[in-house]
């Protein structure tokens, strides 16, 4: 048992470190280091532009999408090299947020199902960040139950005509392309009538409307499709096989490890180390210490769980299922941490303005962003189902709509 790099890993780390040190946008390092959930802002700069510039710089030097093949804009690196890169990239990795969906989900799906010519055309600019992609899966009638989606695709000549609505689409407002899951046959069971496409987000008939979130920010969108035309050549996988295609997308995401989910613990620990309560330093208060210890072991547990997965990658093995706990644990923890940090501020915890609030309102922003982390990318409940069914081998839920033609499934609860 050790934490040492193999000689090859050490060589790769040295090379990555040197390049990052010479090329990263250092002027933003401090702000990025301090940014936390709900608050990633760069004063006097447009973060999207900074992010795109960094991504392009990485791509030009061969450091983008490391695990992708070279011909598609990657480096052909091993999974462990990708993890080492992330470790060395450190706070600058926070600039990759806008590319996560494109690189983690859209790219691998294109790689598995698009034609060779398309891959060579679309993947390199996706890797370099010149083109941003989004994933159009969720709908008002299909969130956790994504196979319940209703957006229709109808064949007309060599084209497909799309009508319907997507929702919770991260980054659609700055995306150039998207992968789109549609219903092509409503007369069969819901999982059996879906088809996947990719499309240009500037296609006529596509309308993106940002959603104002409960936090007041807008990261997600509604996307409306009115007679949008997609050529059949942009279909991914067979007609009505879209469910299996989407599973490939999601499985790819599970292989991406090390990105790290925010728990809020380092921020809280730092805060408690400097905070004075009425009767002394917060860090010397028994209750504070007990709370901190409980959060500390969750945060360290997640960190070491991820190291176990990295070790498997380093040995060329597939990581075990233990990494599936990350989002579930971190999501509810970051929310609790934010609430506790406000509690420690007493009545002044209500203040959220950067000038008046403690630590510039960091925990207030965290509090307001946190509910989203427990919903996006699979709710806490869906994550528990996944652990119970795929890790522990418990039976799936009874699905009353599984063998019913999609157009016979009830659409209303109480009339």
């Amino acid at each position: 048992m050790n934490f040492d790099d193999t000689p090859q890993e050490a060589a790769f780390r040295t090379e990555a470190k040197a390049w990052i040190s010479a090329n990263a946008p250092k002027q933003y390092e401090e702000e990025l280091r301090k940014s936390s959930l709900g608050r990633t802002v760069l004063k006097g700069a447009n973060i999207l532009e900074v992010a795109k510039a960094w991504q392009k710089k990485k791509a030009d030097a061969g450091w983008a999408c490391l695990h992708w093949p070279k011909e598609y804009g990657g480096r052909g690196s091993s999974p462990i090299e990708r993890v080492i890169w992330q470790q060395e990239e450190g706070p600058f990795g926070k600039l990759s947020g806008m590319f996560i969906i494109g690189h983690g989900m859209c790219g691998p799906t294109m790689m598995a199902f698009a034609g060779e010519e398309q891959k060579r055309k679309y993947l390199p600019p996706l890797a370099s960040g010149e083109k941003v992609w989004c994933q159009l899966f969720s709908e008002p009638a299909g969130g956790s139950d994504v196979a319940g989606l209703r957006t229709r695709a109808e064949k007309r000549g060599d084209d497909w005509i799309i009508n319907g609505q997507k929702i919770w689409t991260s980054g659609a407002h700055y995306s150039d392309y998207g992968i789109l899951l549609t219903r092509t046959d409503p007369n069969v069971a819901k999982h059996k009538g879906l088809t996947m496409f990719f499309l240009d987000m500037k296609s006529p008939g596509v309308e993106v409307r940002p959603i104002k979130q409960a936090s007041g920010q807008s990261d997600f969108n509604e996307v409306y499709f009115t007679d949008v035309k997609i050529p059949d050549s942009q279909r991914l996988g067979a007609v009505n096989d879209g469910w299996n295609v989407s599973l490939t997308t999601l499985m790819n995401e599970r292989m991406s490890i090390g990105a790290g989910v925010s728990t809020g613990f380092p921020e809280l620990f730092e805060f408690c180390n400097s905070l004075m309560l009425d009767d002394g330093p917060a860090i010397e208060d028994r209750n504070v210490r007990s709370k901190l210890a409980n959060y500390a072991v969750k945060a360290s547990g997640l960190r070491y769980t991820s190291m176990r997965a990295i070790s498997a990658l380093s040995k060329g093995e597939r990581p075990g299922p233990e990494n599936s706990i990350g989002k579930l644990v971190a999501g509810s923890m970051v929310q609790e941490v934010a609430m506790y940090a406000l509690d420690l501020q007493g009545a002044a915890g209500v203040l959220s303005g950067p000038e008046d609030a403690e630590v510039a309102g960091k925990f207030q922003a965290m509090l307001l962003r946190a509910p989203g982390t427990r919903v996006e990318g699979g709710t806490d409940e869906i994550m528990r189902n996944i652990i119970a069914e795929r890790v522990l081998g418990l039976p799936g839920d009874i699905r009353v709509d599984k063998d019913v033609p999609f157009n016979k499934i009830p659409t209303k609860g109480r009339a």
Binding site: A293, S300, R308, V329, L394, P395
Partner: protein
């Protein structure tokens, strides 16, 4: 990075699991639970023959000379089997104290006997309620003898010798405390068995009356040695707790697959699934914290104090969480004497206290994190 046990260590874990499945079935644990024996002597001898008692004891002192990583994997299996033997007191506490602070003669005297199963050892630290603290130690040492009362002492009624924490000064500093070795069979010590929450592991009151004692380690070093012993034992016991957590989770999972209610396996209900998923989460967090503790223990890293506290807290929480929810998943049957669920519940809630309570270790963890932060 290789943050995992080696293939040889995993093989040893498999060997220990196989051995314990055969020699320590629930029936054997129940013999002790029902008071028919104070501990499972046949199993104790078997563990000695397998080389498990002395796995981390150097060969020159009669052990296998493997190491602490090997001891961790065996500890996990001891916890999984709920073994009714004085393994933790003898191996994690007494042997570790000897290894850390014993003279060559003391090691020669006791370690080979531990490895061969001839001697049971323990640590006599507590004097009534409360957590590890130099202030709480009143038992007096004078002129090579000890007088006072220790309780609860794990396995105190069956132990052959004890490492005893005693007061040798009154300055109010940690250096008031020294450690002693006492041969419990040599007279001057009266042992009384105490009823406790987990009858498969004994607890006792030891009354010392001018009992002959020899110093273990330098005078005044007692508290500093104890702190190190407790850290090491915390990691090792945490592996037992992780083994117990996993077993409780498996029991719950198996029952949820087999038990039919409302016409379907209860494991198909989300209410039950989610309980089990949360058990998996806590057991996984604990296991990962324990691995870090194992690394720190085996390399004697400066991170050991922090790693030990984190492993201890996380594993205590996991075992309590998994053992209580295993009963919940079993419903009424889980609350019967006949089902094994309560044995893990009992063990979880006693191991949670034997090295000091959860709140004590929470406090320790924050102290240690602050020290690291300041450094």
């Amino acid at each position: 990075m290789n943050f995992d046990f080696s293939d040889e260590q995993k093989q040893m874990r498999d060997e220990a699991r196989k051995f314990l499945a055969e020699k320590c079935p629930s029936k054997a644990v129940r013999e002790v639970l029902d008071g028919k024996a104070p501990y499972d002597k046949a199993l104790w001898q078997g563990l000695a023959e397998m080389g498990f008692l002395g796995v981390a004891i150097p060969e020159e002192f009669g052990g296998a000379g493997a190491g602490h990583l090997e001891l961790c994997v065996i500890a996990e299996e001891m916890g999984r089997a709920n073994a009714p033997v004085p393994f933790s007191s003898t191996v994690y506490l007494a042997a570790e104290a000897l290894l850390l602070a014993g003279s060559d003669a003391q090691k020669q005297k006791w370690l080979p006997k531990i490895a061969s199963g001839e001697a049971i050892g323990t640590l006599a630290l507590f004097e009534g309620k409360g957590n590890p603290s130099p202030k709480a130690i009143k038992l007096q040492a004078s002129g090579g003898t000890l007088s006072g009362v220790k309780k609860p002492v794990p396995d105190g009624a069956i132990a052959d010798f004890a490492v005893v924490a005693a007061r040798t000064g009154s300055t109010g500093r940690d250096s008031d405390i020294s450690l002693f070795l006492v041969d419990l069979k040599a007279g001057g010590v009266e042992a009384k068995s105490l009823t406790n929450v987990d009858p498969t592991r004994g607890q006792a009151e030891l009354t010392f009356e001018n009992a002959k004692a020899e110093p273990l380690g330098a005078a005044g070093d007692g508290w500093s040695i104890l702190t190190q012993v407790l850290d090491r034992a915390a990691v090792l016991l945490a592996f037992e707790q992780v083994g117990g957590s996993d077993r409780a989770l498996e029991m719950g999972r198996d029952y949820a697959l087999d038990r039919i209610a409302f016409g379907r396996p209860i494991g198909s209900f989300q209410a039950v699934k989610h309980i089990l998923a949360d058990m998996y989460v806590s057991a996984t967090l604990a296991r990962s914290n324990c691995y870090y503790g194992a690394w720190a223990l085996s390399t004697n890293a400066s991170e050991l104090p922090e790693a030990a506290a984190a492993a201890r807290i996380s594993a205590t929480q996991a075992f309590q969480h998994c053992s209580k929810n295993n009963i919940q998943v079993h419903g009424g049957m889980g609350f019967t004497w006949e089902f094994d669920c309560h044995m893990y519940y009992r063990r979880a809630n006693t191991t949670a206290l034997t090295l000091g309570s959860l709140s004590y270790w929470e406090d320790q963890l924050i102290d240690r994190m602050r020290k690291k932060n300041a450094a």
